[in-house]
Amino acid sequence: MRRFPVNLVLGAALAGSVTLVALLSFIWTPYDHAAIAVTNKFASPSFAHWLGTDQLGRDVVSQLMVAARNSMIVAFVSVVLGGGIGIVLGVYASARGGWVENLIMRVSDLSLAFPALLFAIMLAAVFGPSLQNTVIAIAFINIPIFARISRGAANQVWTREFMLAGQAAGMGRMTLTFDHVMPNIAAAIIVQATIEFAVALLAEAALSYLGLGAQPPAPSWGRMLSDAQTLLYLAPQLAIYPGLCIVISVLGFGLLGDSIRDLSDPRLRRER
């Protein structure tokens, strides 16, 4: 008795449309997102400016589109970077076992004490705030998450018979890792990556809201919100759109990841 996968469809639809809009922004936006027109500031939504203009007369839709692209790039790069390092560590830990595995897992436990925000704060204090720091900080928190997941999944693969057979046939642990472990843990990792992508989008928004992320003139949803917060009495609508964009994209990728996990492997099912 399989229900209609509402979450999957909804998640895919939301995530898909955000991705499409972000891609579209490379080739087309209604206006130049940075074009200032002071005479036309705080314009209300109209046919010319679908969501109106901001305090400098810039087109809101164009800014949101470019911001979508920026957010997704940050989230993508940091998940791939942190995930890549984490997977290598996790799989290596699993293949070596013993004290190496213990050490890697201990260290990754330790790094759970550093939320992305704290790491970004340290980097910002030393190097000044920048987009790169955001990427590094978010990538950093993804390392232990992926190390943990891939070690767990890899350890399961190592108990399977074909692995014993492989070892008996004299194949090296690294060869076995590439030939058998990696393909078998790929599904779990892709699911996790989708979920962490949503988390990264949320972290990027928070960091750029706090001024630790993308610097002007690069638009980002978080910074648009912190700008709008100073204008709440004048133009409350500007504080709505970027927030909705964040919710839609985070919800989309979160639902997508969760429902793929539920469909692909009920044993992994776990409430977030």
Partner: protein, 315 residues
């Protein structure tokens, strides 16, 4: 039990030391010149060299690390570059606000999570359950700072029930409470949404167990079964997640303080970043990380207190 505590405490001390090394390494050993950061690129080489001497930056890093830790052990976190006063004093001044916010936020989080989670579990598969689940799914996707802005928009800008931000100081207790209401809600709503799902699934699992059937067969009312029998048993996973989420609460507090311009530690960190006040940032980051680790430690101990079976095994 005491052996368990001893071992856990030893692990805690080691972890704290390791964290301090990481913090120190990131802020001192990574290529980057604090003197350059502080004075900016316009400063002369001489001025930078002088500042470096003043900050003791010419000693080798391990020496400086040991000095730093030794100072902290004495309660001396160094002197803030920008405020010119001891960092410990700055922290002490702002800690009460941050603590109050974190505590009230955690409390409200628990209230929301337990109420929503248990309600949802007791209405499993019915409309009420669905409504709670949809709300919590949304809650997870909403950034706390945006929810905060929306709250300000509604309750401060439009309805004028609460101030949009700022803090009158503890000498005005009523005003202080009023200015903490919106921050507390913003902090708790999102965390509560995450925790409500955990509570629900944990309660559903417990409700399938035999002793719940016994309680029903004893003629106890559904409410009593839920609160006295299901809840305590469902609490263990919930507490685990509370511990794991504590990092989220702490960073949430930092963010929320900045949304509402509350003069707590979170504001202090950002002021210090803007002032290039590395010593202060370093001390604060260490403190926050330490709090996260301590929270996890507290959770481990709390387990043993909740669950007599565990207590027996640890004895």
């Amino acid at each position: 039990m005491s052996f368990f505590l001893l071992r856990r405490t030893g692990g805690l001390v080691l972890t704290l030391l390791a964290i301090s090394i990481v913090v120190f390494a990131v802020m001192n050993v990574l290529p980057g010149d604090p003197a350059l950061t502080i004075l900016g690129i316009d400063a002369t080489d001489d001025a930078r060299a002088a500042l470096r001497v003043q900050l003791g930056l010419d000693d080798p890093a391990p020496v400086r690390y040991v000095q730093w830790i030794a100072g902290i052990a004495r309660g001396d976190f160094g002197t803030s570059y920008s405020f010119g006063v001891p960092v410990a004093g700055l922290i002490a001044e702002r800690l009460p606000l941050t603590l109050s916010l974190a505590l009230s936020g955690t409390l409200l989080t628990l209230v929301i999570a337990l109420a929503a989670g248990l309600y949802s579990a007791s209405r499993h598969g019915r409309t009420g359950d669905w409504a709670v689940m949809i709300l919590s799914q949304l809650g997870i996707a909403i950034p706390a700072f945006w929810l905060a802005i929306l709250l300000v928009l509604l309750f401060a800008v439009n309805l004028r029930w609460f101030p949009p931000g700022g803090f009158p100081g503890w000498s005005d207790p009523l005003g202080s409470l009023r200015s903490l209401v919106l921050p507390t809600i913003a902090l708790a709503a999102v965390q509560g949404a995450v925790l409500a799902r955990v509570t629900r699934s944990s309660a559903l699992e417990v409700m399938r167990l035999d002793f719940v059937r016994t309680a029903r067969a004893t003629g106890l009312s559904p409410a009593r079964v839920l609160w006295r029998h299901v809840l305590p048993n469902a609490l263990v996973p919930v507490i685990t997640i509370v511990g794991m989420q504590f990092a989220g609460v702490v960073t949430g507090t930092i963010v929320i303080e900045n949304v509402f311009y509350l003069p707590g530690l979170g504001r202090l960190i950002f002021q210090s970043i803007a002032n290039r006040d590395i010593i202060t940032v370093q001390a604060l980051v260490l403190m926050v990380a330490a709090v996260v680790v301590l929270a996890n430690f507290a959770v481990d101990v709390a387990y043993a207190l909740i669950d007599p079976r565990l207590k027996a095994r640890l004895a």
